[in-house]
């Protein structure tokens, strides 16, 4: 096994899968000549040619719509959208076609496309390079959604997404692209969609998180260590959700804090809380508490540390719950 940064693990997965399956085609803005603005696709154009690693015109609806047609022509497109907030022009195609076309053919046709994009804040960037748009994707019938927190999962989940017969959106936490570093299996490596990861075991309280917030959850667990034994659960696949893992942890600790970077209202944390309310209410010793971004536009970066869920905010929520 090699040590890699998260973004390098993405790159590794693309190399392995393009080698393994010659119908896999990478496309997006600046993915070819320069290898992507985060270098996630570096080397692919040299290795597989400009027809399989395609610099597209600057047109996200075009990328997403063309990917639908490419599927019909027998390809497995892996589309890079350059940033979270720049994925929105593609929503029309995603919602109206990507998520519905299989259904519209009575299941006769697969649309095995992947959309991957860097997402999330904390990177001191100008406006609109910081969004956490996962809810829009999770809310779209017909697409699956995964978010890795570690390099190994970045490789394994992307590989699973590429091989999946359904459209999968993979959001990559750009904040930890080049800080999350870890062992990544060589060659083919699959992390099945729909399985959460137990980051650490504990008895008193569960913190549920995904993406860059897993690190914040772990930081809070450390901070609480002298007072409580904290379990951390990384959801990894937002849809389909590993309900079993969530409910098992809730049953064990009886206390759940959910951390999400996106604005609060109707965010993914609300879905997790609803599942807990429906299926774990009698296991709970206190309210499910969400620590989230706020219901306002992501602020300019001088203020972003105040907006993003912090270790302090998670510890505060956990303390309230432990003392409930």
């Amino acid at each position: 096994m090699a040590e890699r940064f998260l973004v390098e693990a993405v790159n590794d997965a693309l190399h392995v899968e393009m080698e393994r399956d010659e119908t896999v085609l990478v496309m997006g803005e600046d993915v070819g000549r320069v290898g992507g603005v985060f270098r996630a696709t570096a080397g692919l154009r040299d290795r597989f040619g400009a027809d399989r690693c395609v610099d597209t015109p600057l047109a996200e609806a075009g990328i997403m719509g063309a990917a639908v047609g490419l599927c019909m022509a027998g390809w497995r497109p892996v589309c890079e959208l350059q940033y979270d907030a720049f994925s929105y022009p593609a929503l029309d195609q995603l919602i109206n076609h990507v998520g519905r076309y299989r259904w519209r053919t009575g299941g006769a046709m697969d649309f095995p496309l992947v959309v991957r994009m860097p997402y999330g804040g904390g990177v001191r960037a100008p406006e609109l390079h910081d969004d956490s748009p996962e809810t829009y994707y999770v809310h779209t019938p017909g697409v699956k959604v995964a978010i890795p927190a570690t390099p190994a999962d970045a490789k394994g989940l992307l590989t699973a997404a590429i091989r999946d017969p359904d459209p999968v959106v993979v959001l990559e936490p750009k904040l930890v692209y080049r800080t999350a570093r870890g062992e990544v299996p060589e060659g083919e490596h699959v992390v099945p969609l729909g399985e959460a990861r137990l980051v650490r075991e504990g008895d008193d309280l569960t913190i549920v998180a995904y993406g860059a917030m897993v690190g914040v959850a772990e930081g809070a667990a450390d901070r609480l260590a002298d007072r409580a034994s904290v379990e951390v659960l990384d959801v990894r696949t937002l849809k389909p959700l590993d309900e079993e893992a969530l409910l098992a942890s809730a049953a064990k600790t009886g206390r759940v804090v959910i951390v999400q970077e996106a604005p609060r209202t109707a965010g993914y944390g609300a879905e997790l809380a609803a599942v807990l309310a429906e299926k774990a209410i009698l296991d709970l010793r206190g309210p499910v508490i969400r620590v989230t971004g706020y219901d306002v536009p992501y602020p300019y970066w001088k203020l972003e540390d105040a907006y993003m869920p912090s270790v302090e905010r998670v510890v505060d929520a956990a303390t309230r719950l432990l003392e409930f």
Binding site: E29, D30, G32, R33, V34, G35, V37, D55, T56, P57, L58, A59, E60, A61, G62, A85, F86, Y88, P89, R124, A125, P126, E127, L128, H129, Y294, D295, V296, P297, P299, Y300, W301, K302, L303, E304, A306, Y307, S310, E312, R313, D316
Partner: protein, 342 residues
């Protein structure tokens, strides 16, 4: 318009007297100094990621000078400092790049819309604005800046379509620097020129040398006159070659053509215009120094003011998204203050 000081003779532009020519020079120098100093400030860690516009000053100043004060400008990030030509303080624009809310301004104070980051999305805003002014019977014209890459976006297409159908008094000003980050124009469009696209929207399309500030001025002025006369929008394609990285975070060496970059640097727009004014005999050495010192001083004051801004209060996270933040948002703020304070 601007010759080469040798075999290609200089032309003349109607209506530009000595004063106007020197005003244009001041604007070019102000933008150039803003850009050069910003790069320094970035390297010094005093501003964040910054979109360099070195070599684009002639397009920006030439177009802006062709407008009347009541006309509106809709900039992209590449024109982040265009507001300086309309009285927006240097410190405001620097604050924007410092990620500070002091970078906000009221568009109606300067007739300059906010800096637009998502590519092409400002085009329909400008079309709607121009149309709205026309509906009110006001003579206002709007000018929207966007890049060559932006012409591939749905928003550009829809905005241009609206402008054409509504015969909106709009100038669609395309900064064709031949690159969208690492994507060359040849991979962006199969059209022979971007100006060719205009025909599909039922508007005239003109193509000018984007390094010739007088040519830009002239083409834009004609487009503005047409708009004000009620003859609808015009697409102006100004051509240059991006001689600098896309932004401070970009390294163009894997994709750019170094010879073209050198050529673009040799032919850069501010020096070209300076040579023209000298040949014309309207610019003295003393004036050059005076204007450059003035611009540098503005930058010095601007960065000092921007850095003197107090750190923004966390309440600003919650303000301004709604006219009236409701109880839940106020409770969020109170909780955040408690946690940050404790």
């Amino acid at each position: 318009m601007i010759g080469d000081g040798g075999s290609v003779p200089d032309g003349e532009v109607d209506g530009l007297g000595e004063r106007e020519l020197l005003d244009l020079y001041r604007s070019l120098i102000l933008l150039r100094k803003y850009d050069e100093r910003s790069l320094v400030y970035h390297r010094q860690g005093r501003i964040g990621t910054y979109a360099i516009f070195w070599g684009h000053e002639a397009m920006q100043a030439g177009a802006a000078h062709a407008l009347a004060d009541e006309d509106w400008i809709f900039p992209a990030y590449r024109e982040s400092a265009i507001g300086l030509l309309r009285g927006i303080p240097v410190s405001t624009v620097l604050s924007w790049w410092r990620g500070h809310p002091a970078g906000w301004w009221n568009p109606a104070d300067y007739n300059v819309a906010s800096i637009c980051v998502p590519i092409g999305t400002q085009v329909p805003h400008a079309a709607g604005f121009a149309w709205g002014k026309k509906l009110k019977g006001e003579p206002t014209v709007a000018l929207v800046f966007f890049g060559d890459g932006a012409t591939s976006e749905g928003s550009f297409h829809e905005g241009a379509t609206f402008a054409g159908v509504m015969r909106a008094p709009l100038v669609l000003f395309c900064n064709n620097n031949q690159w969208a980050i690492s994507t060359p124009l040849s991979a962006q469009t199969a059209a022979p020129t971007l100006a060719d696209k205009a025909i599909g929207y039922g508007m005239p399309g003109v193509r000018v040398d984007g390094t010739d500030v007088l040519a830009v001025y002239e083409a834009t002025r004609e487009a503005v006159e047409r708009a004000r006369a009620g003859d609808g929008p015009t697409f102006v394609e100004a051509v240059t070659y991006r001689a600098m990285p896309h932004a401070t975070a970009d390294d163009p060496s894997p994709y750019i053509d170094p010879e073209r970059v050198e050529e673009a640097k040799r032919n850069e727009c501010v020096g070209r215009y300076e040579g023209y004014l000298r040949r014309l005999g309207v610019l003295t050495e003393a004036q050059v120094d005076e204007v450059k010192d003035w611009a540098l001083e503005l930058m010095r004051e601007g960065i000092q003011q921007a850095e003197a801004e107090p750190e923004p209060d966390v309440s600003l996270v919650f303000e301004h998204a709604y006219a009236e933040p409701w109880a839940a948002l106020r409770a969020d703020l109170a909780e955040l203050r408690r946690i940050l304070g404790g």
